[in-house]
């Protein structure tokens, strides 16, 4: 092929521009630390990166939900544990009353104690977590209308409070107050009345009712314990997934610094060689050899 000045110059300019372009691209990756700067850098990679990014925000949201659900269940558990302790105390009082070993004048005092214990249960039923009633169902905020009034009537509802703990997986975290306490309150009311009347036989029956209520409470606590376990597992899994996805995301989006550093020096070298070649090629001419 016949070589002309224009071919040489064009070729050299194109080579220098290409070498410079590659150098710049690598430099950009190096300085930003990112392999993907726009969708066309790697369309498939970008879509994967976007999926990971969205997955990370989801995982964070689920982790937060799980944490919050655990706090709520913790508070519920603690209220129910206290209620069980109170019922235990009531049971001891009832045992005294049923055995008929107390003086007849003391029955009134026992009834009074049961009434106080019942008030404590009502207070537990109205306990709040982060400004919200734990046991009101969906009726969580109205200070004028707590779940239980002074007489122990339930004003909440059966509404379920749900937390999303995984994609499409929800868990009910609340226990409506009537389920948790209404039986206990009724039993205590009956017990107090029977004690006040000094009716040892009826108190004996109440004792059996109280045992049934306590069993129910234990079952409820066991269920909450199981939920706590499930949440703990879910949280651990979320943490593992978060670590894995973060790693995958950085694998797709970020550059391998060592590799880019090597490539950068290769491209810089190529650029220098292109410039040097230009300098030498443009110097030679027949003119140099004519007198």
């Amino acid at each position: 092929m016949r070589v002309t000045e224009t071919i040489v110059v064009n070729r050299l300019l194109a080579d220098i521009a290409a070498a410079d372009q590659r150098r710049l691209q690598t430099h950009l990756q190096m300085s930003s630390g990112r392999r993907l700067l726009r969708p066309s850098d790697d369309p498939i990679g970008v879509v994967t990166a976007l999926r990971y990014r969205s997955a990370l925000t989801e995982i964070k949201a689920f982790s937060a939900n799980i944490g919050e659900a655990r706090d709520w269940l913790d508070a519920t558990e603690s209220a129910l544990r206290n209620a069980a302790a109170i019922l235990q105390r009531a049971r001891e009082v009832a045992v005294l009353g049923a055995n008929g070993i107390v003086a007849s004048g003391s029955y009134g005092a026992l009834a009074e104690e049961i009434r106080t214990l019942r008030q404590e249960i009502i207070l537990l039923g109205n306990s709040a977590h982060a400004g919200r009633y734990l046991f009101g169902g969906h009726q969580t905020v109205d200070p004028a209308r707590p779940p239980f009034d002074a007489a122990g009537n339930y004003h909440g509802d059966a509404g379920a409070i749900l937390r999303e703990i995984g994609p499409g997986v929800t868990m009910q975290i609340n226990v409506p107050g009537d389920q948790a306490f209404s039986a206990a309150l009724a039993a205590l009311d009956q017990l107090a009345n029977d004690l006040a009347a000094g009716n040892a036989a009826a108190v004996g029956n109440d004792l059996a009712t109280l045992d049934g209520v306590l069993d129910g409470l234990m079952a409820l606590r066991a269920r909450i314990g199981a939920k706590m376990n499930r949440l703990e597992l879910a949280q651990m899994r979320m943490q593992e997934v978060e670590v894995a996805v973060t790693q995958l995301q950085s694998g797709v989006e970020e550059v391998d610094v060592a590799e880019v550093a090597v490539r950068l020096s290769v491209h810089e070298n190529a650029y220098r060689v292109a410039l040097a070649a230009t300098g030498r090629l443009l110097q030679t001419s027949l003119l140099d050899f004519l007198k």
Partner: protein
């Protein structure tokens, strides 16, 4: 003794001086775009019958020297044709590459400030509301994030529809103007070529000029060229004559009411659509009516699915006061028309009544239940649900496929531009190999002609001496 020798020497002097002029012209134009090197064709002049002075026949013919037969340019028309085909493709892909790279700036993924991030944030806000349905702050957050999504969608829409599409439209008009200018110039050059040819001259530089104009024209529209006997070139665009001899037919732009009054390209004075068939002009038309419109439609689809999906669930819920929102001013979260056909991103907004009273946001799915966040949760879960209006994709998937499509198109355009550039460069190098000026070569020619000129001059000198001998030194008889 005849004076033929002097005549031969004179012819040689003139011819070699002319050859030197041509070499000078080549050297001067070594870097001129579109210049083809020119070659002097020398030929011997017709001989005369030889004569010894006694005998007419017998010694054959005597040469009478030489002259410049013609000056021609070195050009390969086949390469020109190939180059113009490539130039059309290069113009097309380069334009596409530029515009798509610009669109990529708007959907700069992966990033923390994109529409996708805003959507992620919105879904998270609904989750937060589901967790804290009693909280006014959570409601405010939902509405704020919804407003951010709407802002980004409208911004993208404004950019694509008003800025980019109108810019592309203006480019169509500019390119049509340029085509007309080039066609006009070609017609003028044709005229001068016909005139020169008629006078028996070889209009080398005019033909270079014509080819340069054709190269530029080919970048803008796909053209076919036919060289006619007169030396003029007929230029066809889409099978219709753009330049015919000394006549240029103009293209024109016409507002198309069926396409939002954007320009269509027609032949001037008619309503006949001009087939531009690629090149920069073809790319502008295709980007304007195809790519940008397609991206706009996809964004609208996404926004529509989001707005109607959220609205439908929201309308079935109950607000913080415990009342249903259906049939109230707070029923819609996003203000959208009833039919998809009437929907434009430009009019999408977050319900201002809700913004004014965030308590009316329906987080609950049962009446009088301030602690119920299940409706908000259902809305948050829309994120994972396939949408029939998006062809069964989730909104996230749909957005990702949108970005993937943009990326793949931009990537494809960039690669094609590189390929076309390489091909064009290769053909141009081949063309330069034939037509380009090599200075070393011209220097060698220069020296050759210089020596030939010097030798001819020496011949004159010799003949002069000979004549001097004959005329002045042969005695004085006959004076």
């Amino acid at each position: 003794m005849s004076l033929l020798g002097l005549e031969i020497a004179k012819r040689a002097l003139i011819a070699h001086r002319q050859a030197l002029d041509v070499a000078a012209h080549n050297i001067a134009n070594a870097r001129t775009t579109g210049f083809s090197r020119q070659r002097v064709n020398l030929r011997t002049t017709p001989p005369i019958p030889g004569s010894t002075g006694r005998d007419v026949a017998g010694v054959g013919q005597f040469g009478t020297g030489m002259e410049v037969a013609s000056v021609t340019r070195l050009r390969d028309l086949f390469l020109d044709r190939q180059f113009r085909d490539r130039a059309t493709s290069l113009g097309y892909w380069q334009t596409r590459d530029q515009v798509l790279a610009e669109i990529e700036q708007i959907f700069a993924e992966p990033s923390n400030t994109s529409l996708r991030t805003a959507l992620d944030d919105l879904w998270q806000a609904w989750q937060q509301l589901a967790n804290n349905p009693e909280s006014l702050a959570a409601r405010e957050t939902v509405l704020q994030r919804a407003a951010t999504v709407v802002d980004l969608l409208r911004e993208a829409d404004r950019y694509l529809r008003e800025q980019l599409r109108l810019n592309l439209n203006a480019s169509v008009e500019q390119k049509v103007d340029r085509v007309n200018q080039l066609a006009e110039q070609l017609a003028r050059v044709n005229e001068r070529i016909i005139y020169a040819r008629g006078a028996g001259q070889e209009p080398n530089d005019l033909m270079d000029e014509r080819d340069r104009l054709l190269d530029e024209l080919a970048r803008i529209v796909a053209v076919d060229t036919v060289e006619e006997a007169s030396g003029a070139v007929r230029v066809l665009a889409g099978g219709t004559a753009l330049v015919d001899g000394v006549r240029a037919y103009r293209m024109a732009v016409q507002a198309d009411p069926a396409n939002g009054n954007l320009w269509t390209v027609v032949w001037a004075g008619t309503t006949l659509a001009a087939d531009v068939g690629g090149g920069e002009l073809g790319a502008y038309l295709e980007l304007r009516d195809g790519v940008v419109t397609d991206f706009l439609r996809r964004l609208e689809d996404l926004a529509w699915a989001l707005a109607t999906g959220v609205n439908a669930l929201h309308a079935g819920g109950y607000d913080l006061t415990g009342a249903p929102v259906a049939g109230t001013p707070w029923e819609q979260v996003f203000i959208v028309p009833a039919a998809r056909a009437d929907f434009r991103l430009g009019t999408l907004e977050v319900n201002p009544d809700l913004v004014a009273d965030p308590g009316r946001l329906a987080a609950a799915s049962s009446p009088a239940s301030p602690g119920d966040g299940s409706n908000a949760l259902a809305i948050a879960q829309l994120r994972f649900q396939p949408q029939a209006s998006l062809g069964g994709a989730t909104m996230d998937d749909f957005y990702r496929s949108f970005v993937a499509s943009l990326g793949a198109q931009a990537d494809g355009a960039r690669r094609m531009t590189e390929v076309q550039q390489a091909l064009t460069d290769k053909i141009d190098n081949q063309r330069q190999s034939v037509s380009g000026v090599n200075l070393d070569e011209e220097m060698a020619q220069l020296i050759q002609y210089q020596y030939a000129f010097q030798a001819a001059a020496r011949l004159v000198n010799t003949l002069d001496l000979m004549l001097d001998t004959v005329i002045n030194r042969l005695g004085l008889q006959g004076r």
